[in-house]
Amino acid sequence: MVGVITDHKLLPQFGMQPKIIPVKKNIYFFLRVFFTILRLYHLYKKCMEQNRFWDLLAKKKSGEATPEEQLELKQYFIQNAALVEVTNQIDALWNSSFQSGEEVSKQQTAHAWSSIQQKISTPIPLEPDTAIAGDNSRQSIKMFYRMVAAAAVFLAIISTGWFLIRSHQKDQQVKQNIVSTKNGSKSKIELPDGTQVWLNAGSKLIYDENYGKQYRKLQLVGEAYFDVVHNAEMPFIVKTGVMDIKVLGTAFNVRSYPDDVTSEATLIRGSIEVSFPGKQVNKLVLKPREKITILNKDSVLPNALASQPSVQSPGQVKSIPAITVSALTYNNADSSVIETSWMMHKMIFRRKDFGALAKDMERWFNVSIQFEDSTLLTKKFTGTFKNENIKEVLIALQLSYPFHFRFEKNGDNVYIYDK
């Protein structure tokens, strides 16, 4: 009881302070809380706004933005200039592939394809029949198998006999294999000795059945890349119209289209020996990363030049000498070799005459290109194309020289003219 009374007495004395100070404190406290909330709200709003911006940008880049959203995005650009720059950088990032090691993935893909190819191609003629039999009852399957077996045995006997007779008769004659690609398509083949050949568009490879048994000789019209299996006892020889290339085991690219002005051979690794049939010229040995260019037309061959081929950079070549040895050329963008870019489905050209370029394009796109103004033939172009179609390529070329073109016959014929 006593304690309570003293408490009552004390209250007025000390009670004033606690009552006033909390009120003051409360005001400060409330103000602080209020401003904190306000600040947080602003931060949140800003954050949401930014999120909204990234939302919109992501949508636009993914091609998902509606016209309204695109307009909304534009508002952000007007408000904040920094966002414009970031967007430009994201544009560039977006357009560049995130695929590293393109070469590796190419190799992987090629490897996977070769395993698939075995599964899908070379269908045995009897296979579809047995497949149909699968739908029938068991007995008929058995019957079918018997029939198939009988037919197979019969066929085997007949074909063996036929083969024996034939091989006996035509012992001397050698069968020729011809692999060719049409314009607009490429192909990869493996020769009996394991040598890999990539055949560019509009090209032909001829070898006979003795290839790999007695010798390794083949004939090439057009462009091909060879990765030759090493065999010191059996040199590998490629014949083109103007040069013969002899190797033991290397990788090299040969380009020899009859309708081009020049033929060329580019050595990627190893060494190759080039000889010139029918010409009074010594053999030449090429070192890696060298390229030999030779005129296709049987023009007069200056002997001095031929015996001592001049080494010059490609940029300097003005009037092409009969035979030139030069370094191979790299693409500045990704330091790939220009000469073999066609294997990566890329068309790269440096200061190339329009006439020569048109020949490439004819083969690449399987079209026929006619020039109505011969002055255009010598215009020089530099560029790189990968997946573009012919129209896109022509439009891009127009940017560096304003010519005109029109398509006829369903786009198979292209006419190029000046005005």
Partner: protein, 202 residues
């Protein structure tokens, strides 16, 4: 490749059994499907096997190729089913957790100069991408690299379109954030980078 070119190839395959055209289709899709399948299977060999099977089946049913409206999406869905079947057959997994995928992201194949940014920044962007959660990275890959639509990704991965939207926004904001920071304080980032290295050196 442009869709019209792809359509032409499909017709060649269906009507003329053109293996060369089929190879072109294969070359166009194989690698991205491989990476996609590998994210689920976490094994190079099984991913190769699964995607190869998808293409063998595609060849076997080649007559119906031109009837497929969206080959890109079709192949991704087929690959996903094939990958899940593969896992199921081996009793490895009954449900796939999207946050537990091995999503491989290659390096940006671009010179920093072409982007007008420093090599360090490019590296930081690369790091920002690899720091994204697997689900986000997978979605970003499928949309940016493989050209799928939000709706397609959502359907394929059993997600809502809203989720895909959020994940894409997250990826873009992480990259954009790095760029924005670097644009506003170009030197701050460099010095911070340098400090980290110094500390590591000690």
């Amino acid at each position: 490749m442009i869709t019209s070119q792809l359509d032409d190839l499909c017709i060649l395959v269906a009507q003329k059994d053109d293996e060369l055209a089929f190879e072109k289709i294969f070359n166009h899709f194989y690698h991205k499907l491989f990476l996609f399948a590998k994210a689920f299977l976490k094994s190079r060999e099984s991913a190769e096997e699964v995607v190869s099977d998808v293409f063998v089946k595609l060849w076997q049913n080649r007559e119906s190729l031109p009837a497929i409206k969206n080959l890109n999406y079709y192949l991704f869905v087929s690959s996903k089913h094939a990958a899940l079947d593969y896992l199921e057959k081996r009793n490895k997994l009954l449900t796939v957790n999207l946050d537990d995928l091995a999503v491989e992201f290659g390096e940006i194949s671009l010179n920093p100069e072409e982007l007008f940014i420093s090599a360090e920044l490019l590296m930081r962007i690369q790091q920002a991408i690899s720091a994204l959660p697997p689900k986000c990275r997978l979605i970003f890959r499928l949309i940016k690299e493989d050209g799928l639509k939000y709706r397609e990704v959502a359907e394929m991965l059993n997600l809502s379109v809203k989720t895909v939207e959020t994940q894409m926004s997250l990826a873009i904001s992480k990259i954009g954030g790095e760029l924005l920071a670097a644009n506003i304080f170009p030197h701050a980032n460099l010095s911070r980078f340098g400090d980290d290295r110094l500390e590591q050196g000690k």
